[in-house]
Symmetry: C2
Subunit: 246 residues, 2 copies
């Protein structure tokens, strides 16, 4: 049975302030939790319904994990979901070096504010084999429940680092930065850099001028009338094009 | 001043049942409403704060529109947004033929349930010059407020038709259908068809078997470990690749 203190602690992790303080976040659901376990996420605590524990006994054993049995009422209390789903994990936020040199293809995100967009960006990065995503410090928090759910497990495979992008770009002058912008060289005339950063700006303001001045702008040609593309869509299109034109 | 009946009517349009009955929907905000007016949406009624009307007097005149002046309290009552934004439009749902032959490049969506995904798909279709999107009848309603907002005005430029996709494909046997799937020919080995349909399945179940049997499966090569791609992301990648390889 869960104590009041446990319930209060888990609920507190729905807020950025407490996630920062404890360096822990929550992930929920019968689909994402096993994925996170398999991807090597550092599980601090698992709370699950008896049937989930039975079904996942092999997985738990392989990863030397023990889940605390709870009932549906308790799950409802600690869940951030409208429809709580069998299992909730408390996970340690991984600690990465913030100014580490980019290797291979990386993504940098400037002021992405939408949790779903950030989650989808991380998931797409994972699909295209991008190992590291740099976020400006004013990006939405990766570990908020909505973003965690939309990464579909990729949150444990991609290194997401919050850092000052200007400092990052200036301290690694040999790594080219390509900014997805409304103006610039056509994407279709570019090829994938062996080592480089794809910079994606916020939907409302695009890439900020200071970062744009440190980048080579590229643009996704438009064939119709939409005013712009969603940030995650733009990033995906560039990554897919580059991977197909190495 | 708004009557109780007006307020009740506008609020009712937040529900699918009443949108179907009246064949009208609502769009809100200082960014999307002018876009919809310019794109030729059939405005039934406009409700706006005095400052919006002043700022948009030329636009209103050009389109022979008169907005009803309301105050912020009234706007809050009729708005579906947490932060109501200056103007709300009641718009007639356009009527399209449901089994019309596909021309050029079209998209078909099989059981897309997420409102934001559908909106983003329509917006991306508009960017890449796709004129028509066919939705299976179990797709989420295009005219729900969340989807309307996420189309960013493209809702008035792209023909979105709800229809039986199986009947559509069978009645136009000369139009090739390409299904985005986990298996199939690599996207990178395909070129844009002059005339064809890109079929996108639901996130949870993919393309349904009966539709898949009427299609040529294509797949977006994976370079990392993510299990799948978001439906709107997958569609965008294919469209961008095809437009770059005509």
């Amino acid at each position: 049975m869960l104590s009041k203190a446990q319930i209060k602690f888990i609920q507190s992790l729905q807020r950025n302030k407490f996630r920062s303080e404890y360096q822990q976040y929550i992930a929920e659901g019968a689909k994402i939790v096993p994925e996170l376990i398999q991807a090597g996420a550092k599980i601090v605590q698992l709370y699950a319904l008896p049937e989930w524990i039975t079904q996942n006994s092999l997985l738990l054993e392989q990863h030397h994990l023990v889940a605390e049995t709870i009932n549906t009422n308790e799950l409802a209390k600690i869940s951030a979901l409208a429809a709580p789903n069998q299992v909730l994990a408390v996970i340690a936020i991984p600690q990465y070096e913030t100014n580490i040199a980019p290797e291979g293809l990386s993504i940098a995100l400037d002021a992405i504010r939408d949790p779903g967009n950030l989650g989808t960006l991380v998931r797409t990065a994972d699909w295209f084999g991008v190992k590291r995503v740099y976020c400006s410090t004013d990006c939405v928090d990766l570990y908020n429940p909505k973003t965690v759910q939309s990464t579909m497990g990729s949150i444990a495979r991609v290194e997401v680092v919050y850092t000052n992008l200007e400092v990052l770009f200036v301290s690694h002058p040999r790594v080219p930065v390509f900014a997805a912008d409304m103006q610039g060289k056509s994407l279709y005339e570019t090829k994938m850099p062996d080592n480089g950063i794809l910079l994606i700006g916020s939907e409302s303001h695009g890439v900020s001028p200071v970062l744009l001045s440190l980048s080579q702008p590229i643009t996704i040609p438009r064939f119709g009338d939409a005013e712009s593309l969603n940030a995650a869509i733009a990033a995906s299109i560039v990554l897919a094009w580059w991977r197909g034109n190495p």
